[in-house]
């Protein structure tokens, strides 16, 4: 069911939402959390995840913290103040997109119907 192109478009929103709920997370943890929440239906590929994380960090929406874990370094990502503000607007954007897609797929549905 899951299509990589569809996921790519909403990956930033997924990351921001997860970090809003989990305070701080590292790359692998994010992939596992998405897998767990969607019962394995959506698998975020590393190919898309890390560039998205680095981009969000460069845009100032995420901040990082490096911790020593079992003789290796682990990079934790968390939301910055502007990242926290961005979550709601990104979610609203995604919500509106899903509603519009629904109208296209099911034109017979009530246009005022909210999901």
């Amino acid at each position: 069911m899951s299509n990589n192109n569809l996921i790519k478009g909403s990956l930033q929103t997924i990351i921001l939402k997860l970090l809003e709920e989990n305070d701080k997370m590292y790359g692998y943890e994010i992939t596992q959390k998405v897998k767990e929440l969607t019962a394995g239906e959506i698998k975020i590929t590393e190919g898309a995840l890390y560039p998205a994380l680095h981009k969000l960090e460069a845009e100032g929406l995420l901040t990082t913290e490096i911790q020593q874990v079992d003789n290796r370094v682990r990079k934790y990502y968390s939301l910055t103040k502007s990242g926290k503000k961005e979550v709601s607007s990104k979610l609203a954007e995604l919500q509106a997109f899903v509603e519009n897609m629904q109208r296209i797929i099911n034109p017979g549905l009530n246009p005022d119907l909210k999901f």
Binding site: G27, A58, T63, R72, V73
Partner: protein, 228 residues
């Protein structure tokens, strides 16, 4: 979750070394990703899963992320420093900026040309060079663990953040060469009228000082999360 054996850890390191990545920032992240995944699996699945990870993290893919990381780090340094510079022109830092310009103007009018060069240009430049050495030392110290793990790949493993940050620090030196040394080489410096020299001195010095201060503040902010 289990602890990986020494030979398993070495196998992981070997397979990451093959990707010829030089960015410490990325090496640390990939290594943690590999280990986090493999630690959750039984010993008998190790080889198969390591191969599967290698197929996802291909040479080309790793180099693509590395090149994007370079761009993102440059963007991040630029935007951080620019936001700090902008803050010098807004209240309450504006008072400091005006005081700085006032002091520089007074100094320029009081000092001889030779003293102006020593105090207004050489001091900030010496500070920047010292700061560069300090950042190089700090970065090498912070990246030592990763360099030890992946340093024998024949590739100079280094912090991309530190490299770009040092490049930004050297900007005034290029500025100095381009606008002061080069015109002197072609004898164009004599074209600048005397009355303009003092204004130019204040402007150049102001830029160098603001650059030095904002670089320091940017480093203070970034040193908490980056290898600098």
């Amino acid at each position: 979750m289990r602890k990986l054996s020494t030979s398993e850890l070495q196998a992981v390191q070997k397979s990451i070394i093959k990707k010829e990545i030089y960015a410490v920032e990325l090496l640390g992240e990939i290594y943690d990703h590999y280990l986090s995944h493999l630690e959750n699996l039984p010993e008998e699945k190790f080889d198969k899963e390591l191969e599967a990870l290698d197929q996802k993290w291909t040479y080309a893919y790793c180099h693509k992320i590395q090149s994007e990381l370079n761009k993102n780090i440059q963007k991040s340094i630029r935007s951080t420093q620019w936001s700090i510079i902008k803050s010098y022109f807004s209240w309450p830092k504006m008072a400091f900026t005006l005081a700085l310009v006032g002091i520089l103007t007074l100094l320029v009018n009081m000092l001889t040309w030779k003293m102006q060069v020593i105090l207004l240009f050489l001091l900030p430049l010496v500070y920047l060079v010292g700061f560069m050495f300090y950042i190089t030392y700090r970065s090498r110290k912070k990246t030592k663990a990763i360099r030890t793990l992946f340093g024998n790949s024949g590739i100079r493993v280094r912090s991309v953040f530190s490299n770009h940050f040092i490049s930004y620090l050297t900007l005034p030196l290029h500025f100095y060469n381009l606008f002061l040394n080069l015109p002197r080489v072609f004898g164009l410096d004599k074209l600048v009228p005397d009355y303009l020299v003092n204004y130019l001195s204040v402007t150049c010095c102001f830029i160098v000082v603001i650059h030095s201060l904002s670089s320091y503040e940017a480093w203070k902010m970034k040193s908490k999360s980056a290898f600098v």
